[in-house]
Symmetry: C2
Subunit: 195 residues, 2 copies
DNA sequence: GTCTATATGAAGATAGAC
DNA sequence: GTCTATCTTCATATAGAC
């Protein structure tokens, strides 16, 4: 929407991030111009540089913030329990958290190649930290004989890939509720690692 | 490599496709210029238009060809048998075929948003045809009581997503051979759908 | 903090010579 | 079939007025 000249710093910052998030997810980082983002926010392109030093940093901030939000959210709800209980908790958390942020998740996986090596290392470290919890759960389950997994590192990647797939098709209000989706995937995860 | 003026149509065509494939996979369709492709091939940018009407068609051709290769390869080796045998055959075929074509697979999933609606429909129809075989296998297994799957449509998408994940980490000559990878994933697939 | 204006470069695609 | 040259548009980013 058009906007007359003036000061709006308190609201423009978040709006820039929201517009970039939505456009990057829909068209891809490389295909989106600063002018497009500015148009969506309702300012001229030059004004965006009050909020980001360049387009690249905008992408990196979105990705890093998403990974930090993921780790914070997980730390806030992770429960103690048996390996089986922890695995169910992780599975359901992963599906729910990611289904609520389709744009962030899409960008976090698709735009890795547009990061500098240093930025990539930061994002990958955060992602690895998240995946480590799942690997720990699988290791614990194998150690106590509840799970039979030939390679917990690969099983971790396989489970994450399977769960991430939910975002490619799940839509609120579709044939299945999120609860049903969680139950279906938990059923497959549970059996896939069962002893 | 530099190339003097002259006629090279018989070899330039495939080289254009190979260069585009490699560059699109590495940097993304939107981030690659026709000049980059031309440089890789060793011609000037204008010469590319002897082989493609535009950049977009180049992408579509790569994606459609990949999906047709996949269906052809699958049709050539698909076996009859029990649901369990067919599922193992499909699982191992999927991993092997996709691991041999990382660039094609990457593009086929990442660049869907750069297709026109008509092009997208073509690629999706081919993909759907491939996935239908897996769904049929799961339905057959459920019908005869060998499998317990609450929703075969979702299980199909979940299995494909899990198997596609192999390409994000598998490298020839790494810790595991492709045979070992196939065995590990087949173990998880088998158990995930087991009755 | 936002605007207008602009510097600078590169993009996709085409024309016409060889 | 490929070249050089060019048309036209658009990109990121900055400068300076308000």
């Amino acid at each position: 929407m058009a906007r007359t000249a003036g000061s709006h710093s308190d609201i423009t910052g978040p709006r820039v991030r929201e517009a970039a998030l939505s456009l990057f997810a829909r068209h891809g980082f490389a295909a989106v111009s600063m002018r497009q983002i500015a148009r969506e926010v309702g300012v001229q392109a030059g004004a965006l540089y009050n909020y980001t030093p360049d387009k690249q940093s905008l992408l990196f901030d979105l990705m890093r913030t998403h990974m930090e939000d993921l780790l914070d959210a997980r730390a806030a709800v992770a429960q103690a329990g048996t390996a089986l209980e922890r695995l169910e908790d992780f599975t359901r958390f992963h599906i729910r958290f990611h289904s609520e942020r389709p744009d962030e998740v899409f960008i976090a996986y698709m735009e890795l190649r547009n990061l500098t090596p240093e930025e990539f290392a930061v994002v990958e470290t955060l992602r690895r930290r998240y995946e480590d919890e799942l690997e720990d759960i699988l290791n614990e389950g194998v150690a106590c004989g509840d799970f039979a997994v030939p390679d917990t590192k690969i099983a971790t990647l396989a489970m994450i890939a399977m769960l991430n797939g939910v975002n490619t098709w799940f839509r609120e209000g579709g044939r299945l509720s999120l609860d049903e989706v969680e139950r279906i995937y938990w059923d497959m995860v549970r059996k896939a690692v069962a002893a």
